[in-house]
């Protein structure tokens, strides 16, 4: 059990805080001035600068309960985000802060990135088909919480909310579906992993890519499996609507929790009036759960075995780490969180479509892990949030900003090009550039874990392709 260090080491505190004082103040001053000049100074900008400085400068690790306090503050700030999002300042180029809708997607992608981080960051197995787990999770939600099977199954309800009593198909409460999806996806992870994890390095990457490419094809052609007429995935149309999460009438009456996320209704506290906010908080809980599990797993016996395998597979095997079992666990754990994220995303979007599961999503999630810093939870959270934001809102905002100033006749600054450019069109090129630049110049990521950084600087000896001995 983790125990806080209750002694306050004054000297260490000052020693570690001092260099950050200068850095933090310079960064805050420059950032404040740039934003204030370009977008105008506001109260929220000042507050944000102060809160940022208060979190960054003091060495909170050295203060009793400091870490709990600082992380707790960040969590509280994120929880309150829907309330102050409207009042936030404008960031130059990027425009306003992400809407709550975007924030939900960001959190879900952060969760997937955290799951992939277990496979890529901890165990060092490059998985190019992570989207397969996302797909399995999403389709599990679609099977157990939608009218999809209404032809074969009359009506099976178990704790579902927001659906008519008599509607056909299977309707199971989303909370149970999340767990089922997680376990089912983990099992799929093990099934994919058992034959393939003997391969090392790039061969494993290609095999996972193969699975990742087969999955959307199965989804696409699954409306008539083996010409039997059995409709598993409803083909290119996808499956919708998928039921929303919720707590049902009994809990609403007793505790005041919302009955269904889509129609929160009147309840005791009146806090839960907005369905987007509900989705946001639930996603946040899931992300915190994933982050907590990741941290605890990393420090567990299993996690140390993963890191040992990543650093030197042969040495780890010689020290008695069972390679296959340890790697399979990494796959199962990564798949577990990918499955939850996929099921929750399907419920949030209220549908699942084969076109969501192509290779580029796998690379997109991989890009998050690599940009932030493989193996580091905080790095992956920042990388995942930023890239998901770019994908959802950011690129459009940047395009609008650029076109306003440089395009057409009434350009605000200088007319550089005639036609407005469509920045989101360059989405994948931008991800490609990020992958190349990060790998070339900062392979440990923007917020690296100290250990991973040392590995990249020292270099890893040449690995054989596959185990002769299994």
């Amino acid at each position: 059990m983790w125990r806080p260090d209750l002694t306050f080491d004054r000297e260490a505190f000052i020693r570690e805080s001092r260099p950050r004082l200068v850095k933090g103040l310079i960064a805050a001053a420059v950032g404040f001035l740039v934003i204030a000049v370009l977008s105008g100074p506001t109260l929220t900008l000042l507050l944000a600068a102060i809160v940022g400085l208060a979190l960054y400068i003091p060495a909170w690790d050295r203060v009793p309960y400091g870490k709990v306090l600082s992380v707790g503050t960040v969590i509280v700030l994120v929880v309150l985000y829907p309330y102050y999002q409207q009042n936030m300042f404008e960031v130059p180029i990027f425009g306003g802060f992400p809407s709550v809708d975007t924030a939900v997607t960001m959190l879900i992608f952060i969760m997937m990135a955290l799951g992939l981080n277990i496979v890529v960051g901890y165990a060092g197995l490059l998985d190019l088909g992570y989207v397969a787990f996302y797909a399995v999770g999403a389709y599990t939600a679609a099977w157990f919480a939608s009218p999809h099977f209404s032809e074969s199954i009359k009506s099976f309800h178990f704790g579902a909310v927001g659906v008519n009593e008599g509607s056909g198909g299977i309707h199971i409460s989303i909370w149970i579906v999340l767990i089922v999806a997680a376990i089912f996806t983990a099992v799929i992870g093990v099934i994919i992993g058992l034959p393939t994890l003997r391969l090392r390095g790039d061969y494993l990457a290609i095999v996972t890519l193969g699975f990742g490419e087969i999955m959307p094809q199965v989804a696409l052609n699954g409306d008539n499996l083996f010409n039997t007429g059995f409709n598993l995935t409803n083909g290119p149309q996808g499956i919708n609507p998928i039921d929303p999460p919720g707590f049902g009438k009994t809990l609403e009456g007793a505790v005041g929790l919302p009955e269904s996320y889509l129609a929160p209704g009147d309840n005791a506290l009146g806090l839960f009036g907005n369905s987007l906010e509900l989705y946001f908080w639930t996603a946040l809980v899931l992300v915190l759960f994933t982050a907590f599990c990741s941290l605890r797993l990393r420090d567990s016996r299993l996690g140390r075995a993963w890191i040992a395998i990543r650093e030197d597979e042969t040495a780890a095997a010689a020290m008695g780490v069972p390679l296959m079992r340890t790697k399979t666990w990494a796959y199962a754990a990564g798949a577990f969180f990918g499955g939850i994220a996929g099921a929750y995303y399907a419920s949030f979007k209220s549908g699942t479509f084969p076109a969501d599961f192509y290779f580029n999503i796998s690379v997109f999630i991989l890009c998050m892990v690599i940009l932030g810093g493989m193996g580091n939870i905080w790095g992956v959270i920042v990388g995942g949030g930023f890239l998901a934001y770019l994908n959802q809102e950011g690129l459009g905002n940047i395009g609008a900003w650029l076109n306003e100033r440089f395009a057409t006749d009434n350009a605000e600054w200088v007319r550089v090009w005639g036609e407005p450019i469509d920045v989101p069109l360059y989405q994948f090129g931008i991800f490609g550039v990020i992958l190349v630049l990060v790998m070339l110049f900062k392979p440990e990521g923007l917020i690296p874990s100290a250990r991973r950084k040392a590995e990249f600087e020292e270099g890893v000896s040449d690995e054989p392709l596959y185990d002769v001995t299994k």
């Binding site: 087969i214 696409l220 991989l366 490609g432 992958l435 070339l440 990249f456």
Partner: protein, 348 residues
């Protein structure tokens, strides 16, 4: 008598392992499936065979590029398929620009030859640049680092293709003659298919000559075997690797030309799709092994066309990609050295 009996056995104590039995059974089933289809619809079968052979030739050119690069750097050059795609797009631009459609024979063939040279040079230049920018700095890095930059380069090239020609497939002017050369069983073998082979076979032969008989080829083989030792023998390793990428790019360019003229269609995702098929072919034949790449490519081309076109007990074109990826997975898991490769302690 007893000695006689024991001599008849293949070898005493020979027990085929389960994988071999499964593999042999599987191949036998495929042969049975092919024979039944042949007897049911012979003309269709010949036609599909010719289509498969033609596609296989194009895949072979691309697969050789993967194999060459893998042989020398042990790197899966993910961007290779997209280099091929850009070559195809350049051909689409040039056929329209030169106005080759409906020209006389001499101008037409001169134009095609000129386009071949331009496209090969173009793709070779792109491929060499990619090596210089994205892979050279990562020679000493962990092996996954260059693979990730390769994926990044692939995305960048796809985006270039998307911006260049738009999200819809680009059609290429159909300029190849389509007259009949000869016919088997009522199926005509047309010029446009024959031309693909006419271009492919000499390219393959000259490549084999280059690798086996010339000094740069010798340097390539030496670098592939042991980079440090090659450097000590006075071989300029960086230059040799650049040269390999140049050759691979030129092959991708030739494939791009043939593919664009033959299918008269290019799309920005073509490179990714065809690239992975060709990569599967290279793995099937034994990656790093040049004749293996061609053999694998022809097999994959045949499998693809038979699955797309045959009627009896066939999964159909919806599943073609899945089947090819399943082959990729099974080969990597069961026999990573491929059909013609040899198993070494370090792998293929």
């Amino acid at each position: 008598m007893s000695t006689q009996a024991s001599r008849i056995r293949l070898s005493p104590g020979y027990r085929p392992n389960p994988t071999t039995i499964l593999g042999v059974t599987f191949v036998a089933l495929i042969l049975v499936w092919l024979v039944i289809n042949l007897t049911k619809t012979p003309s269709e079968f010949y036609n599909l065979f010719l289509i498969g052979l033609t596609n296989g030739a194009v895949y072979g050119l691309i697969a050789l590029g993967y194999s060459l690069v893998y042989g020398i750097l042990e790197l899966i050059n993910f961007a290779h398929g997209d280099v091929f795609m850009l070559g195809g797009m350049l051909v689409a631009t040039m056929t329209a620009g030169f106005g080759l459609k409906g020209e006389g024979d001499l101008i037409l063939w001169g134009g095609i030859l000129a386009m071949l040279l331009i496209t090969m040079a173009f793709c070779a230049a792109i491929n060499t640049t990619i090596e210089l920018v994205a892979y050279r700095r990562l020679r000493g890095a962990p092996r996954l680092a260059p693979l990730i930059t390769a994926i990044g380069m692939s995305f960048i090239l796809q985006n270039i293709g998307l911006v260049w020609k738009g999200a819809r497939p680009t059609s290429v002017d159909s300029i190849l003659p389509r007259g009949e050369i000869f016919s088997i069983g009522g199926v005509a073998y047309t010029w446009n298919r024959f031309i693909v082979l006419v271009f492919t076979v000499p390219v393959l032969l000259s490549l084999i000559w280059l690798v086996q008989r010339t000094r740069p080829g010798k340097a390539m083989r030496a670098t592939a075997q042991d980079r440090d030792a090659a450097a000590m023998m006075g071989i300029n390793v960086n230059q040799t690797i650049s040269f390999t990428f140049f050759i691979a790019g030129a092959l991708a360019g030739a494939a791009g030309l043939l593919f664009a003229l033959y299918t008269t269609n290019v799309h920005f995702t073509t490179g990714f799709r065809v690239g992975l098929i060709a990569f599967t072919a290279a793995v099937l034949g034994g990656i790093g092994n040049l004749p293996g790449a061609v053999l694998g490519a022809v097999l994959i081309g045949l499998i693809e066309s038979f699955n797309n076109g045959l009627t009896w007990a066939t999964p159909g074109s919806d599943w073609t990609t899945s089947i090819i990826f399943a082959i990729l997975i099974v080969i990597l898991v069961v026999r990573p050295e491929g059909l013609l490769g040899e198993r070494t302690p370090e792998g293929a």
